[in-house]
Symmetry: C2
Subunit: 451 residues, 2 copies
């Protein structure tokens, strides 16, 4: 170790002190300073580094001196963070990291500064141990716009595709399934979204005087939305589930053994019950089944008490989560078509199709997948939880599409790390494990005969 | 005529100049001054008048010298008005009446100062013509809180029930079915209301990570609301329509001949089509069939773009309009019970029952009803439109319950009088007709042998 954990923590704390809030124009200089600090860190490690400008915040790019015949691993992370509000809910300054009881508390501690810094320090240690001769070629792509949806990353990938040629991508920006349980995420759901607007009368009408004459747009909308699922929670949009790849037996067995059961999910969600599509556990529904969720609905009077109106319009915002073999574009089209088909006479229906991203899945039992599992098990001394996740990470799909390369998602944060919330935290033990994991992983990838 | 129309208009304009906005504390003195002005007007006419204080704004009470053996007619109106906002949409000062092309434009011109002043001036003229010997005893009850829901009128009626003994009540606070068409309204719908709140998880959940694990409260709510009607618009709440009194043949025939057809209703509502319960015209649905309307709905994200949440809760605000023989209390109970019954597992449902008022109907062919029709026909020279209305006027129900007396609703305002809106207006012709109508009506009621 170079200087040991104290020195490692000191560097992470310096990194965390930058309020690199990418969404806040007032933090523009801080984001820039944070990127510059990272560039200098890479240079000091003996990597070839560059600050690559974008129309927004720069990407910090670094690479080890390329050695032919070695595999190339691209490690992705981000140095920007979410805003710290609401400030009053923090127990300490979000940009003055606090260490207590082995827990680092700061904005970005988990998402993503702590996790990417573990990889950087892992590479630094490995270079020291090997006299700069790493077992693989390493590329770092650390962007400053992940928290605002990576608006410039796709263009960056396309422009620099040549430079970014690699065999596999590693990202630690997910969570472990439970404390101390090494976790490889091999599947992510895709996303589709549409907004439905239903319009009836040209103005809000008095519901006493005119009630009965015209169809109420809220009634029309609720009737339409009620046709998206059957009474038991199955999606009923024609064709929507046709392409869904069935769960494999090994997945059902593996997930049933995870330390994330219904009791724990009831605790986390606080819902009265776990209810959904019959025939699947809650975990299976979250990770391997598609959903249609109504994220928002509005129309008419929402204040205190009563206002007797037939509103002129109502709207709902829907997103879908999609699983392998579903097409996001097709899903948007199917739901839009279905809603138009079930729309009753007497109202106008407008549907705005929004963004979409296809689902992602990699074979966790490929050569790279197995290498990742071995590295995880050596680091944590436990069997790897091989899971999917319900959310979507669009950059993983971009990497696949643009660079043609799969991603290993190796979460280091805990499920209760409070990413995006007050008192975000990251255990020192996970930070330290991450530094070791990086070295095990690069060794495993370098050593293995990989397909 | 005392001084003719110019003098009548001058008095109405004085009345209209008071910004007697009952809901606005800043107008308290103006409301009070307006009541005082009215009191003085009654005194100057030779009536016995009183300013009767309430915890809010006073009721101005007046009576002719009681003569035994005569019928007693109570004329109700209100001297308070709605706020004038949005001021910028007025073409002239709302409290400086403007007369152009035979139309008076001012806040309160139609609702209700113009209409109640027509009755007051009618009685004044009749007293002049008859040397104070009116054909009936007259009581005036003109309140200052109608626009805020008459919070003190019921107590006033109970406390002064003795003084308010009468045979029939006359109100001109409705509209004519079309310009120049005398209109007697003999039915009003009742009202019930409930709010439904559906709660699922204890916090908003990420709809990617947790989507599928729990039931979405908006999905639960929309599914519940979709069970209130069948696909064709019939109410499907068990028992809800059981007590509904069927439309009578004469009503269907009379309404079919009214100058208020589907074309006109399409114009007024601006809806793409008139859609509702099969087997009834739009007018029949508005006036003689019950409704369940969703006046407002809300839950989750309502801003621009997308936010991927499963919201912790969602709500809807419902009101029902009820027709004769339905009970408002019972309707609230039936809808609440139905929603609880269809609520899916996985969410908590809370239902708040709100205010309620029973439907009202009087026989338009009773002695008083026929007298009113004769007076209307003499005044306007046309056959009376005998209609119901879809709205609710709770005071009419209060009069019936507390004083045991029926109300004749004789609208003088036009359908496009813009009550409660900018540029409220009232034609001079209607004002003048109202003054004549009052005298015809009191004569008809006084002369007739009434049941």
């Amino acid at each position: 170790m170079i200087g040991g954990m104290d020195a490692h923590l000191a560097q992470l704390f310096d990194f965390l002190r930058f309020p690199s809030v990418s969404t806040d124009p007032a933090c523009r200089d801080d984001v820039s300073a944070c990127g510059q600090w990272l560039y200098e860190k890479f240079v000091s490690m003996g990597l070839f580094a560059e600050v690559r400008g974008t129309p927004g915040h720069p990407v910090i790019f670094a690479r080890s001196e390329p050695r032919p015949g070695l595999k190339t691993v691209l490690i992705y992370g981000h140095y920007d963070v979410q805003p710290a509000d609401p400030l009053e809910q923090w127990t300490s300054d979000p940009f003055e990291p606090r260490l207590a009881d082995g827990i680092i508390t700061a904005r970005g501690a988990a998402d993503n500064k702590g996790q990417i810094m573990a990889h950087i320090l892992g590479v630094e240690e490995a270079m020291a141990h090997t006299g700069g001769k790493l077992p693989v070629n390493v590329l770092f792509v650390v962007e400053g716009e992940e928290e605002i949806g990576s608006p410039n990353l796709e263009v960056f990938l396309r422009e620099h595709a040549e430079d970014l040629h690699c065999d596999v991508i590693v990202i630690s920006d997910t969570t472990m399934v439970a404390p101390g349980v090494p976790t490889l995420t091999y599947g992510l759901r895709g996303i589709g979204c549409i907004e439905v607007r239903v319009t009836g009368p040209s103005v809000d009408l008095h519901s006493g005087i005119y009630g009965g004459a015209v169809l109420n747009p809220i009634a029309a909308l609720t009737a339409m939305l009620a046709t998206l699922h059957d009474g038991e929670g199955r999606i009923t949009v024609p064709g929507f589930c046709d392409a869904v790849e069935p769960l494999q037996d090994w997945e059902r067995k593996a997930w049933a053994e995870l330390p994330l059961d219904d009791t724990r999910l009831l605790e986390i969600t606080g819902a009265p019950a776990l209810v959904g599509e019959p025939g699947y556990t809650a975990l299976e529904r979250m990770w391997a089944r598609p959903t249609i969720e109504i994220n928002g609905i509005g129309g008419g009077y929402q204040g205190e008490g009563t206002k007797t109106v037939i509103p002129r319009s109502a709207f709902a915002k829907l997103t879908f989560r999609l699983v392998p073999r579903q097409s996001a574009l097709e899903a948007n089209r199917q739901v839009a078509e279905h809603l138009r088909r079930v729309a009753p006479a007497g109202v106008k229906v407008e549907i705005i199709e929004g963004h979409h991203g296809d689902p992602y899945m990699v074979n966790p039992h490929s050569g790279f997948g197995k290498a990742a599992q071995r590295a995880l098990e050596k680091t944590f001394g436990k069997k790897t939880a091989v899971i999917r996740e319900g959310g979507s990470i669009p950059i993983v799909q971009s990497f696949k599409e643009i660079l043609g390369v799969d991603t290993l998602l190796l979460g280091l944060a805990l499920p209760d790390c409070r990413a995006h919330s007050p008192n975000e935290n990251f255990p020192v033990a996970n930070f330290e494990a991450g530094i070791r994991l990086n070295q095990e992983l690069l060794r495993e990838i370098g050593a293995a005969a990989l397909a």
